[in-house]
């Protein structure tokens, strides 16, 4: 094949390659075919400094000592083809002269091609051919650089889009902080660490590296981790709502030209900061809600001789406002025990205020000896007087010692019916009834009577329990409650309420209050 045909083939192939790795296999062989050529060597230089990134060859392998010799020769080459006399240095390979040329492209690894020839070669012709090959090579590298630039832009766009999507999908701070570096590694950096300022000091909260062993070694050295949090080229502030909340540190182990632009890293850090800040605020708010909820409930239930009491409260998933469930138990002077449970409709500060008022009103009146019906009526009157549009479902169980058990007077104002679990086995729903308080001027109450023997348990709850739904959308009341009660038949009363509140998939708050008649009075 003549040189013109070889060159034509080279140009056609050069526009199809997708990686610089393919270049040597393309451009070196045609030169190797020229008369008098013993070897063709290709060197890819580092963008900065005089290092060599890759050695390629056709003919005499470019290995061992030959690499350093050829590197020295290449250092003298600049620009167009030139002939280097070897003074016998490569005699053992039959090489007398080298024809070499170098190309440089801004931001790209430069390359040198050295054609080693014997005494028979026409160095003028070889030089002309080499110049043409250098031209093809330079064009191929330029084209690859353009394609790579476009691909990198695509990757960065995709990363920002995916990062926003992923980070917005979670409200858990730990998860958010883990997702940020996990998305970035290794697409844009070999390692990524998230520091969050706690008491003014950066604390490492998550770290990902493509090389897990290196990360482990890094994390084993606290001083080294501390140094990473110091200001540096690849240490970015996490800034959200005008505050610096932490740092995002990128670790690179790639050529400088493959490091993403600073503007992109800043953009990613800004999105990460917002996601982290959102999830932190969410958690803070949720903690406050749970704390406030605790203030609305009794810190402890009274001790009574004949009864075991237990209560549990669960704040619904993703709930950011205080709920209105309440319960309490008072022991009256006459020895009767009044257990109160209720639920103010709605959530938030107003509902919370009403919850506190309702609980205290009912317990105070019951403590003073008022009957449940009168206590509930007084609360209803108060709600009507205040002109509150909110209503309250509530119920009172008044338990009076009766032989070896208790007589229970259950008074309900639109509250879910309790469950009575018999000590000998079996459980059934008692009666509900009545209309929620705050609706009618004269309340309509649902009174009923129960008898509890030793070992029997009265389980009172709010509708968060019965109306919670499982993954299939079935309400807990349908069969989940019966199953849970069956399973917990012999459980201690505290375990019973804890398990009940956690076995339902709570979307709303759940309050459960249980009263069990001790097997043996006075113990």
């Amino acid at each position: 094949m003549g040189w013109a045909a070889a060159l034509h083939r080279l140009w056609s192939a050069a526009v199809t390659i997708t990686s610089r790795e393919q270049l040597a296999a393309l451009v070196l062989p045609p030169l190797g075919e020229l008369p008098g050529v013993r070897a063709v060597w290709g060197l890819r230089h580092a963008v900065h400094g005089d290092g060599v990134l890759a050695y390629r060859w056709q003919g005499v392998p470019l290995t061992g000592d030959l690499q350093s010799l050829v590197r020295e020769l290449a250092a003298e080459v600049a620009g167009p083809a030139q002939v280097i006399e070897l003074d016998g240095r490569l005699r053992e390979h039959g090489v007398t002269r080298i024809v070499a040329a170098r190309f440089d492209l801004p931001g790209e690894a430069p390359g040198t091609i050295l054609v080693a020839v014997d005494g028979t070669a026409d160095t003028g012709f070889v030089g002309a051919c080499l110049s043409q090959v250098i031209e093809v090579t330079r064009e191929a590298v330029r084209r690859l650089s353009v394609i790579r630039g476009e691909q990198e832009q695509q990757v960065r766009d995709a990363l920002l889009a995916e990062a926003s999507l992923q980070m917005d999908a979670v409200l858990d701070t730990e998860q958010t902080m883990y997702r940020v570096p996990r998305m970035a590694v290794p697409a844009i950096a070999e390692g990524c660490l998230v520091f969050v300022h706690t008491d003014g000091k950066p604390q490492l909260r998550s770290a990902v590296h493509v090389d897990m062993r290196r990360l482990d070694a890094l994390l084993d050295d606290p001083a080294g981790v501390g140094r990473l949090a110091e200001p540096g080229e690849h240490t970015l502030e996490l800034r959200a709502r005008g505050r610096v909340i932490g740092l995002l540190v990128f670790l690179f182990d790639r050529p400088a030209e493959r490091i993403p632009p600073a503007t992109f890293l800043r953009d990613l850090a800004a999105r990460a900061a917002l996601a982290i800040d959102n999830s932190t605020l969410y958690e803070q708010r949720r903690r406050e809600v749970m704390r406030m909820q605790q203030h609305l409930l009794p810190t402890r239930l009274p001790r009574t001789d004949g009864l075991e009491l237990a209560a549990a409260y669960t704040v619904g998933d993703r709930v950011l406002e205080v709920g209105g469930d309440f319960y309490d138990v008072v022991v009256r002077d006459d020895g009767a025990v009044a257990a109160v449970i209720g639920d103010v409709c709605g959530r938030g500060v107003d509902a919370a205020a009403l919850t506190g008022m309702a609980r205290h009103t009912l317990t105070t009146l019951l403590q003073e000896g008022l009957s449940p019906a009168r206590a509930l009526t007084r609360l209803n009157a108060r709600l009507r007087l205040d002109g509150s549009w909110r209503f309250i479902t509530a119920a009172v169980a008044l338990l009076r010692p009766d032989g070896d058990g208790y007589a229970v007077e259950w008074t309900s104002a639109g509250h879910p019916a309790p469950v009575i679990m018999r000590g000998g086995g079996g459980a059934h729903r008692a009666t509900g009834g009545g209309v929620p308080l705050g609706i009618l001027d004269v309340p309509r109450l649902g009174p009923s009577a129960l008898r509890m023997a030793a070992g029997d348990t009265l389980v009172m709850f709010t509708d968060g329990l019965t109306e919670s739904r499982d993954a299939q959308g079935r309400m807990f009341e349908q069969d989940g409650l019966a199953r849970a009660l069956g399973r917990l038949r012999d459980a201690p009363v505290q375990l019973l309420v804890d398990e009940l509140t956690s076995s339902a998939e709570a979307s709303d708050d759940i309050a459960v209050l249980a009263v069990r008649v001790r097997e043996c009075r006075g113990q």
Partner: protein, 151 residues
Amino acid sequence: MDSDLVLVAEDSDEDIEAIARALGRSHPDVRLEFLRSGTGVLPRLTAAGAVRPGLVLLDLNMPGESGLDVIRLIRARSELDGLRLVVFTSSENQAEAEACYAAGADSYLYKPINFALFQSVLAQTLDYWRSREPNVTRMVVPPPGESSAHA
């Protein structure tokens, strides 16, 4: 060892196609060998005369032996010391990452949905581990008489 060979254990057809397309573009010199479950990985690596790949890319959730099982099996074999094990998964479970590392994985990578990102994750991982090989000078042009390296 053949550093241009990557062994992939992956059961999803779409992921197999995507891995082949991604690495075919970024690393045309790399050859890929696919196994559709974890079960075949150890026998493939320990068979008499087997060529050791430069890297093993593992999906975590596969029928039969999972990616985690495969890591444990490989790390129990001293003759496979130093073999690079890369887990490629869409899971966001941090505990899983820790379990993989404890079992001896070298990398635990996020598997993105976007193809450009997917390609970049694989390419950068391969570049990283290849740059850590003791001998980074590789022959891309076979000397006359040897033809296998470029098949």
